[in-house]
Structures are given as structure tokens and as C-alpha cells.
């Protein structure tokens, strides 16, 4: 695992190359996020800041959407946090490959983790057996810059669009959720339990929406539906 600087640099560019298949997908979502943020009243600088700090399509759509309807800041933060709890699982799944790296490097790799880079990383790490620092940096930095670029481009474009709804751009978020849901369920066994959990989550969200404040209903429905899945799996 001891690599010299030249090897690390070679691995870095290999990481950049391995990231390229995901670039177009995130470009379109980042672009849509930028347009929606701009038309919600954010400046280009604020859009850039949001994409660099949050670095999550779902979190940014949620933040803008809730901000637009005047939701309190605490419930926006709570919803973003719970929406990103799924990263716990992705991050936990990758953890065994990062044992040899120091905590500060894992902090950087963890912060730059996304659904797409996770998919690319699991592919390689299961082959190689451990995470090359150089390769991970190449992968993550490419995805990060691409995201920032897409958001800013969308924001600039958004200045000329009065209503992004007329072009269906606000539908990028639900479409992304549909895509991620299909991807996740396609790649694993236990389809029937998965579908039950999905149905429970939908019904619980609708039901709890009438009694709980917006944002909290999603959190409660998610935790309950996942618990139902856990119990079904245990009793099967």
C-alpha cells in the first residue's frame, strides 16, 4: 500500500477517468437545481455557496422548496439531516475499505460521498480490496467541481427564465427520487420486502401529514417504515 508520488498521481487521473460516466447525469440535476434556486430568488454567489457547502441535490431542492413556502429554519435543517441519513448506510458500507487511512483523510472522502460516486467506488474497491487515496481524490474532486459548475450554469441560465415550472424543471427532484429508488431496488435481493417498505412509507407520509408538521411527517414515516422492513426480515 506504500505508493510513491508518481503512483498516486497516476491513480488520481484514473479516478478522474472513472468518474466521467456520472458527469452528465449530475450535470443535468445540478443544472436543474441551479435554475430552481435562481428563480426562488437566490443570487449566483448564494447558489455557488449552497452547492459547495451542502453538495447534495436532494438537500438543495428541499432547502429551496421549504424556504419558498416559509418553513421555519429548524424544520428545514431537520429535514435535510434526515434526508441525508441515507448516507449513513453508504458511508458504513464503504468503511471497511478505509481502515488504513488516517481519520482526517476519511473526513474528506466522507464529505465528498454521493450516490453516484458511491456506485463507482464500490465497483472498484470490491476489486482492489482497499481505497487508494489518490484514486478517491480524483473521483471525488471531479464530481465536486462538476456539481459546482452545473449549479452555477443553471443559476445563470435561470436569470432568463421567468417560470421554471413551464419547462417542467421543478420536476427534476421527484424524477431523481424515482431514479434512485429504482436503482437501489434493482441492485439487491428482497424485492417484496422492499416494496412493502415503500408502500408503508407512502401511506405513513400521507397519514402523518395530517397530524404532524411538514418535514417531521417525512422523518417519522421513514423511521417507522424502515422499522417495519426490519421486523418483516427478522420474522420471515
Amino acid at each position: 500500500m506504500k505508493e510513491n508520488a508518481a503512483t498516486q498521481e497516476r491513480l488520481f487521473w484514473l479516478g478522474v477517468k472513472d468518474c466521467l460516466p456520472t458527469v452528465l447525469g449530475y450535470l443535468s440535476i445540478g443544472f436543474a437545481a441551479g435554475v430552481v434556486e435562481r428563480t426562488a430568488g437566490l443570487s449566483i454567489a448564494e447558489i455557488a455557496l449552497m452547492s459547495v457547502v451542502l453538495y447534495a441535490g436532494s438537500a438543495q431542492f428541499i432547502a429551496v422548496g421549504m424556504f419558498a413556502v416559509g418553513a421555519p429554519i429548524t424544520s428545514i435543517i431537520a429535514t435535510i439531516f434526515i434526508a441525508n441519513l441515507r448516507y449513513l448506510l453508504l458511508s458504513a458500507a464503504l468503511a471497511p475499505y478505509f481502515r488504513h487511512l488516517p481519520a482526517w483523510k476519511n473526513t474528506i472522502h466522507g464529505f465528498l460521498l454521493t450516490d453516484e460516486t458511491f456506485a463507482v467506488a464500490t465497483n472498484r474497491l470490491s476489486l482492489v480490496g482497499y481505497a487508494d487515496n489518490g484514486w478517491m481524490l480524483g473521483l471525488n474532486i471531479t464530481a465536486y467541481l462538476n456539481w459546482l459548475l452545473a449549479n452555477v450554469a443553471g443559476g445563470i441560465f435561470g436569470q432568463w427564465i421567468g417560470r421554471p415550472e413551464a419547462f417542467g424543471l421543478d420536476y427534476a427532484l421527484p424524477a431523481m427520487f424515482i431514479g434512485l429508488l429504482a436503482l437501489q431496488m434493482a441492485d439487491r435481493p428482497g424485492r417484496r420486502t422492499d416494496l412493502t417498505v415503500v408502500a408503508c412509507a407512502v401511506l405513513l407520509t400521507i397519514g402523518l401529514n395530517t397530524v404532524l408538521p411538514s418535514g417531521i411527517d417525512v422523518i417519522a414515516a421513514t423511521m417507522l417504515a424502515a422499522a417495519i422492513g426490519m421486523v418483516i426480515e427478522k420474522w420471515k
Binding site: 453538495y55 458511508s91 468503511a95 429508488l181
Partner: protein, 88 residues
């Protein structure tokens, strides 16, 4: 808020092991949260007339299952919504 769940497990869990029930619960969190957020987006917003957000999901889900491409799914969703809003 997006950082804590991404960083914490990678730093801490690479040094320890979670109990089995917790792993099983975590296993269902991603699809549960996606479904919850999706139903909120499709059913609980009053932004559109009728159920056109739900109708736009039909071709979107189909493309998602058939192609498993995130970009293709997002593109089809946006175009479906644009057409539906133009028609209704």
C-alpha cells in the same frame, strides 16, 4: 447537516462494528426516505391542478425501471411534466 451522516460512519465505523438489527434498519432507510419524499412531492403539494404530478411519474417510473439511468429518468420526468403542463 449533509456532512455529519457522510463523515461520521466512515471515520468511526471503520474502527467498530454495529449490532445486526441496526444494520438491518439502516438497510431500509434509503428506500423508505426516497418513497416518503417522493409521496410528499407527488401527493402533498397543491402547486398543480389535478394529479398531473402523479401522471408525470408514470413514464418516469417506466424509464427508471427499463434503463436504470439517472440522467434518462430525470430528463423524461422534466419533459413529461412540461408536456402535461402545456396540455392542461
Amino acid at each position: 447537516m449533509t456532512m455529519i451522516p457522510r463523515v461520521f460512519p466512515l471515520v468511526v465505523l471503520s474502527k467498530m462494528k454495529l449490532p445486526e438489527w441496526a444494520m438491518r434498519w439502516l438497510h431500509y432507510i434509503p428506500i423508505a426516505i426516497m418513497a416518503a419524499l417522493l409521496s410528499q412531492e407527488l401527493l402533498l403539494t397543491s402547486a398543480d391542478s389535478g394529479y398531473i404530478r402523479l401522471w408525470a411519474a408514470l413514464p418516469t417510473v417506466l424509464i427508471a425501471i427499463l434503463t436504470r439511468s439517472l440522467m434518462g429518468t430525470v430528463a423524461v420526468g422534466i419533459i413529461s411534466m412540461m408536456i402535461l403542463r402545456y396540455l392542461f
